[in-house]
Amino acid sequence: MNNQVLFAILLLAPLVGFLINGFRWKSHNATLAGTIATAMVFISFLCSLGLVSQLFGANAVPSVGAKFFDWINVGGLQVPAAFVIDHISAIMVLVVTGVGTLIHLFSVGYMSHDERPAKYFAYLNLFLFNMLLLILGENLLLMFVGWEGVGLCSYLLIGFWFTDADKAAAGMKAFITNRIGDAGFLLGIFTLFFLFGTVSFSEIIARLPNLAEVGWSGPITLACLFLFVGATGKSAQIPLYVWLPDAMAGPTPVSALIHAATMVTAGVYMIVRLNPLFLLAPNALHVVATVGCATAFFAATIGLTQWDIKKILAYSTVSQLGYMFLACGVGAFGAGLFHVMTHAFFKALMFLGSGSVIHAMHEEQDVRKMGGLRKYLPITHATFLIGWLAIIGIPPFAGFFSKDEILWQSFSSPLGNKVLWIFGVATAGLTSFYMTRLMCLTFWGKSRVSKDVHPHEAPAVMWIPLAVLAVLSTVGGWIGIPAVIGGGDNWLERWFEGVIREPSAFGEPIHSHTLEWSAMGISLSLAVIMATLAYTFYVSNPSLPGRLTQKFHGLYRLIYNKYFVDEFYFGSLINPLVDASKGLWAYVDVNFIDRTTYVIGDVVRGVGSTAKSIQNGNMQQYAMYIALGLAVTMFLILR
């Protein structure tokens, strides 16, 4: 089958799933709706496999594309509805559809007791369709359509149980913050179109000047900054990350799919897609790197003090995203994308694991009421364990290779510098501390489960995806084994060669193997130390953290309340705006605008009543007016 048909099925399958479930949204039959949705996503996974396979093998084709119709054809702007899979989007499409299928399977079990499963699966399929649009889009506008669609679906899914007021508020918050980011993204698209007269990726890259810009005010730097603002909004970086922790209000598979694997990585994917552009704006890359590193460290610190299992994972996602942006910031776009893939695997695994824990604990999310679940949830515990090992970066697992590659690049790349590496390593240490804390509080240690709750193992349909993800978390890392370890060159680098450029223009990276080995050793040892420290804190003698928090009471309260960022936003932006508008309404609207309308109304009525007196039915008066008019006109004419 030619690519046109494959692409069509790939894209339209989730849409069809959405329509079917959409029209049957009232039905309560979770299994039927679930199977339809999962089948659709699985079909698109198979199609993506078919298409990606064409990139391998003997007659490998650099990229596979299909054009359906001319979407916009106005003057200079030609935007075809065309889709392309090249080496970058191949990885993303496989991850999205693969993890998507697993999560759909998991949510069949998870949403079985919900009263609107069909609606849930319809939204999920719509989300998948939009995500595919975003990834496969051949130009920025299609990506933007996907971008918006994905934002919409995240709002719908976060606020899925909209009857609950603060869940709906969380959905609204997510949507608005995303929209702010989207505004930046849009401005970026406009500047790009203004600069290059086209929105298609390949054409933009083709028309790029070959000299990097210096200073801050260059057009390309400006475009990159705008695009980065879009990315921060979508991928929850420092200024616009506040929506992600609250997004946990949605069902757990949603958090797994949207807020771990796919949507949040859209920002990184966009930057990697436009890496030649970004390479021409070194200052922009510096901004990306610093913001990424700051977000990583900042989010990791908050993760330490959270008690809600999903909040911890949310903050860990934010910090891991920080890592990806750090990688892109230092020019290691390949490493960034590699971490996107591995993070998708183990973060989705952990979220689904927490999902099955919550499912087992009957919607209980507070880790203080858990503990010692190893006995009750053996499979979940095992898979969660693999996820934990992957995230803190233990060698055979995926996390180690991708995170280590990023740390090494931040150290060795011409764009990177020592400070970034130090913070990176510190964040890695913090990550392993709070992840081990999570493991201890939920699975190991004494069981703090309340009497009336009897946790039971998740059903088959839920733990199969967990198992698959666990395997992927272990195997996933091996495709990117760095040259220094695996001998031969890094398969992934060779895979990205055509598409991702090296920041060679800014100087030579450091090539000494010894430094590489030592950096790897430092990060690994720090991770192990922090893990044992956390184990001692929370399992061997649980009272220690309590005493520690008393001593550093101020610092603890600060971190626990998430540095009062939300309150700051409310205080500095939202409330003054609301008060100002109230004031404006009270003073300006009531006094001036209403007053003027009333005055105009009265004036018109006044004029009307005086004019009315002319038409009083007295015919002679009419005759008089005629005579008067005649006289005046005659006078004027004959004067």
Partner: protein, 108 residues
Amino acid sequence: MPINPAAWKVGLDHYLYLSSLLFVFGMLGVLMRRNVIVILMCIELMLNAVNISFIAFSRYAENVNGQVMVFFVMTIAAAEAAVGLALAVTVFKKFREVNIRFFEHLKG
């Protein structure tokens, strides 16, 4: 008083002065009088004034269109008088008195 025969020779303007005077008298009547019938009569007066000027111009321009027009004006005037009087009769039947004010009751 020295009769300057040239001035007294009747020309077109004499007729026009006469017709405008009659017209203004008619107009004053229409504007001032309260009785509907008298108003109708004054309208007839105005129409006659117009007829005079028509015939004067027709005689001056030596063609017969003026007279044709007067012919039509007469028929229209007769028609108008008939309808006007019919209206006046109906008003009289209702109000026992014919006064232009009673037409105010017709206003919307």
